[in-house]
């Protein structure tokens, strides 16, 4: 089945009729009607808890760059400046910033400018750990800007091996380059192109990270404008692009290679529906992800059933994990 046929098969996902309850809640919390209708199906009893937490700003968090500084020393340096940090037990390099001074801001300290840390959402740190690159891996980062995950991959590889970081947008590549240099990542080739162009070669990668461009529906606590930003037809456009990208990732992955697919969206249309395509149409397998305070992938959504393999993926929700909404899945080509 090709991508167009697959989209047709799952057309039902994109025909949502908001109920009266959905419309009421949409007005109360400032969301689009169709979004709430979907949340009713996803959250059930937890719906209002979820909607409430979408309006609570998240605690800032940082990833310590232990290539450049011992993390305890970083904590001590920042505490001397009036910050208070709390180690996140489930992330090797993650810290919550529970108190900040008036000045300097978190993004203007000497330590930040020297690449000792990256300001990064907690759930956003998970995909590189799940990919777990080794020092001799050849890694492809398919949509690399602004560089949080590229630089984290480089850190995990101790600046060895090689990362091909691809970014399509001319505007976004500038911040990517800046972050790569600030964090002193030395094993990165940066390429401005559409990742899909790479399938014209015989290139094969042992590990691929596809942190796909998405609606950002998981970032509502950080950016309330997203409550009304994405229409159902926008979501369908993202879905189609994500299907193309995951197909590209499959083609570029070596045998027995690992692909991590992630989005900063909690929309099943951008998450399980895309992974389901990789399972059912590309023959990929998922690996269970453990060790994170996250929920399993949704096997069913809006009366549409996905492969039971998607349960091995993980979802982060603001009201449960106290993180941005996020989706992570590890797939194998076998």
């Amino acid at each position: 089945m090709n991508i167009n046929e697959y989209i047709k098969k799952y057309e039902k996902l994109f025909t949502v009729s908001p109920s009266f309850r959905a419309k009421q809640l949409a007005r109360k919390y400032g969301f689009l009607d169709y979004m709430i209708e979907r949340y009713i199906h996803m959250m059930e009893d937890e719906l209002e808890d979820f909607l409430y937490h979408c309006s609570v700003p998240l605690i800032k968090s940082i990833r310590c760059n232990d290539i450049l500084i011992d993390c305890e020393r970083l904590v001590s340096r920042l505490e001397n400046k009036g910050f208070m940090l709390e180690k996140v037990t489930w992330l090797p390099h993650g810290y919550k910033v529970i108190k900040m001074p008036k000045t300097p801001s978190l993004g203007a300290t000497i330590e930040y400018l020297s690449g000792y840390y990256y300001i990064q959402g907690l759930a956003s740190m998970v995909p590189p750990y799940v990919l777990s690159p080794r020092e001799n891996d050849l890694v492809l980062d398919m949509a690399a800007s602004p560089g949080s995950k590229t630089t984290q991959l480089s850190q995990l590889m101790r600046n060895k091996g090689l990362i091909l970081a691809v970014e399509k947008s001319r505007d976004r590549i500038r911040s990517l380059m800046s972050n790569i240099n600030r964090m002193k990542a030395k094993n990165v080739i940066l390429l401005r192109t559409d990742s899909k162009n790479l399938v014209k070669t015989s290139m094969k990668f042992s590990k691929i990270l596809l942190d796909a461009p998405c609606s950002g529906e998981g970032l509502i606590p950080e950016d309330p404008r997203r409550k009304t930003k994405t229409s159902m037809s926008d979501l369908k456009i993202f879905f189609e692009e994500q299907l193309k990208l995951i197909t590209t990732a499959y083609l570029l992955l070596g045998e027995e290679g690992t692909l991590v697919y992630s989005t900063c969206s909690i929309a099943p249309e951008e998450d399980e529906a895309v992974v389901n395509f990789a399972i059912e149409e590309l023959g990929m397998k998922t690996d269970k992800i453990e060790g994170y305070p996250a929920q399993p992938g949704l096997e069913e959504f809006m009366n549409v059933k996905f492969s039971s393999e998607v349960k091995k993926c993980i979802r982060f929700y603001p009201h449960k994990s106290r993180t941005e909404g996020f989706f992570v899945c590890r797939l194998r080509k076998s």
Binding site: L113, R174, I180, N187, V188, I189
Partner: protein, 186 residues
């Protein structure tokens, strides 16, 4: 590298690289032999476009690097960068880029350490500062209009600068400071 014209790149030898950065090494009073040792295990690339830039990749003889570059070239795709950008060459003049500071720090003598964090902060906004001689700890004698690497009291690199000697003060004028990451990278 930022460029509007089409990019191209080629590998260059260590000697060619040293000849290009020679003026920087002289300006900051560096040990050329020590500097060259730091690059012996690296692949060095000269990127050309509307200006030239030298970039280095950490592992020489990296098969994966060669394979990727060859395959990209077959598609007529040219990397935006390979590893770390080290210097920029514009109209024949060579300018250090921030990643080279890590290497210069190890082999150069023209260093100034500032124990005043407010002045350090001001430098990261790209602004000149006037420093009382008592607040300056230099690893060599200060001379007017010479280039110096500036560090915080605890040896974090802050800026490439030149200094002007005043009666009681030293004026430190940043050429490029780490605040660039904040100003240009967003």
């Amino acid at each position: 590298m930022q460029a509007k014209k089409k990019l191209d790149y080629k590998r260059i030898s260590l000697n060619k690289f040293l000849s290009i950065v020679k003026q920087i090494l002289v300006s900051y009073n560096c040990d050329t032999e020590g500097f060259s040792q730091l690059f012996r295990d690296k692949e060095i690339f000269l990127f050309s476009s509307s200006f030239d830039q030298i970039e280095v990749f950490s592992n020489k003889n990296n098969d994966k690097l060669n394979e990727i570059l060859t395959k990209l070239r077959e598609l007529n795709l040219y990397p935006y960068s390979i590893g770390e950008p080290i210097v920029k060459i514009l109209k024949g003049k060579v300018y250090p880029l921030l990643p080279i500071s890590e290497y210069l720090s190890q082999v150069c003598k023209n260093k100034i350490f500032l124990n005043n964090s407010k002045l350090v902060e001001k430098l990261t906004y790209g602004k000149s500062v006037l420093v009382d001689f008592r607040d300056v700890k230099a690893t060599c004698e200060l001379s007017d209009n010479k280039k110096y690497l500036i560090y915080s009291e605890d040896a974090i690199f802050i800026a490439f600068t030149r200094v002007k000697m005043k009666k009681k003060f030293v004026e430190i004028i940043p050429d490029l400071d780490i605040g660039w990451y904040l100003r240009e990278g967003k």
